[in-house]
């Protein structure tokens, strides 16, 4: 019995020490990334390539998902609002749900699974194929040339993807509510315009997507760089990227929502 308790305590202690160790490594890693940022801004092509890699290549999944989320929101919202005789408020419901929550959160989750996993796999394979070492030996710092531009590319792409997701969602809500279910067009748009505040709703949504973008990209890059240089190591790193990013996005969303919308 005592042996089992002792084993359990050791296991927990080991996990805590490993967690703190990895957090410290990740912090140092991000410090290095930020300190090597300038090359990406001196050579905008490097940055644009990464915006393309993580942003443009994620567009299809973002557009389709945004549309379907909007369609579902329109259907569910209409059914609920109709009970209270306020179906015209559908535009407000769809827009607030998307701009404040679903846009940043769902697009961050999709970004983690599409672009985050790709970033981890790319970096992990570059490491296992010695491409990063080769770069170092050619006197080219991989942090400056590859990793920092990847970080800022993801950082810039994520808010844009969230905006596109929300726009497509609103369009989906419009299709269902106005075109199919017969909500008045003027009421749909005017109520939305009247109730969505630029600073309180839109800017806070953008801030969320920026924070999520930074978190997901940082996790993806660290996992890729830190992965053991084997097929199994890279595979585990990709899995960890998706899982850790999803948990981080949801936890950060709770914290940010607490500060932004409930006045904690």
């Amino acid at each position: 019995m005592i042996k089992a308790i002792d084993g359990g305590i050791r296991l927990i202690g080991n996990q805590v020490v490993n967690g703190v160790w990895r957090f410290g490594s990740a912090t140092r890693f991000m410090g290095h990334v930020v300190s090597q940022t300038m090359l990406g801004f001196r050579r905008p092509r490097l940055l644009l390539d990464q915006v393309f890699f993580s942003g443009v290549l994620s567009l299809i999944i973002i557009i389709i998902s945004g549309l379907f989320v909007g369609l579902v929101l329109g259907l569910q919202g209409y059914e609920t609002l109709k009970r209270y005789g306020s179906a015209e408020a559908l535009g407000t419901l769809v827009a607030l749900a998307l701009v404040r929550e679903l846009g940043p959160v769902v697009s961050a989750l999709l970004f983690a699974s599409r672009a985050g996993s790709a970033m981890t796999a790319k970096l992990g394979l570059m490491k296992s194929n010695e491409q990063l070492s080769a770069m170092e030996m050619m006197a080219v710092d991989p942090f400056a040339r590859v990793i920092a531009p990847m970080f800022w590319g993801g950082f810039l792409a994520m808010p844009l993807l969230a905006a596109i997701f929300s726009a497509m969602g609103i369009f989906g809500g419009y299709l269902i509510g106005v075109v199919i279910l017969g909500v008045d067009t003027g009421a749909f748009w005017s109520q939305m315009q009247a109730s969505v505040d630029l600073r309180y709703d839109v800017v806070n949504g953008v801030i969320k997507s920026v924070v999520f973008g930074a978190a997901v990209t940082a996790i993806a890059l660290f996992e890729g760089y830190d992965s053991p240089p084997t097929a199994e190591g890279v595979s585990h790193a990709v899995t960890r990227t998706v899982v850790t990013s999803a948990l981080a996005v949801l936890a950060l969303d709770f914290v940010l929502t607490s500060f932004m919308f409930t006045g904690f």
Binding site: N129, E130, Q131, S133, A134, E136, M137, M138, A139, V140, D141, R145
Partner: protein
């Protein structure tokens, strides 16, 4: 070896935790020579290259390259020194998203402001030297192992380095490709007036082009000398290594309890 030494490794110790990889080794690499570091798998050969390139730092001792102590250099000084080095990795380490041309052009574009036309001429010159000018448009995935190694060699010499390091350049190649790569190493070294350090366990491919060789095992140097001196060495490990004997100082069996004990025989 009377000429000036481009690289000096002086009493270097290196290990991971309690696991010792190099135990106080000293080597020198003279200008213009092709020198090999040979030994079995896991003997620390590649570690020596990484110490010379500054990718690892020794626990003790000194690594000096072109008059600078590598393990005391800061980030910018180390990167400046690396511009005068070239390294060929075991499997080429080509950038898989770039074409052959762009791989060779990579160091030129990163370290110079040369116009595109001049970069094109230089890249084609380097590719021609390794016989692959006609393959400049291919992607690394379209190359054979030997071709990939030659492209990586062209990339390693793109900046006309003073020191070229080769990490197992013959691994996984057919005999013709081994001969091609070996000849290129010798010819490029002589043409550039560089110094080459060749890490390999391939005696057949390496010996004909070497000026000098070190044989390492267990973190120490077991023998050094000209290829002929190495081939004639009576040192037990070197003898086993050179003649490819299955048993000797390097045992055939991994340490284990008695066979009968493992099979459960004779135990009451």
């Amino acid at each position: 070896m009377q000429t000036e030494n481009v690289v000096e490794v002086d009493n270097v110790r290196f290990g991971y935790g309690s696991r010792v990889i190099l135990n106080g080794i000293s080597m020198s690499f003279a200008r213009g020579k092709v020198v090999a570091i040979m030994g079995g798998s896991g003997s620390g050969k590649t570690t020596v290259l990484r110490l010379i390139g500054g990718q690892l730092k020794p626990n003790a001792g000194r690594v000096q390259v072109m008059g600078k102590v590598v393990n005391q250099l800061g980030h910018d000084e180390l990167y400046a020194l690396r511009r005068r080095m070239g390294m060929l990795f075991q499997f080429g380490a080509l950038f898989t998203d770039l074409s052959v041309f762009d791989n060779v052009a990579f160091p030129l574009r990163e370290h110079s402001d040369l116009p595109d036309s001049m970069i094109r001429d230089l890249v084609l010159l380097k590719l021609n030297a390794v016989g692959l000018r006609g393959a400049h448009h291919l992607k690394p995935a379209e190359l054979s192992g030997g071709m990939a190694r030659r492209v990586a060699l062209a990339r390693a010499i793109a900046l006309d380095p003073m020191l070229i390091m080769y990490d197992e350049p013959f691994t996984g190649l057919d005999p013709i490709s081994v001969g091609v790569i070996a000849n290129l190493i010798r010819k490029l070294n002589d043409a550039l007036g560089a110094t080459s350090i060749l890490v390999s366990h391939d005696l057949h491919g390496s010996m004909p082009i070497l000026d000098y060789a070190y044989i390492v095992s267990g973190g120490t140097i077991r023998a050094e000398g000209t290829p002929q001196e190495i081939l004639n060495s009576e040192e037990p490990f070197v003898h086993q290594f050179v003649h490819g004997l299955p048993d000797g100082p390097v045992p055939y069996h991994y340490p284990s309890p008695g066979y009968a004990e493992d099979l459960g025989l004779g135990v009451t």
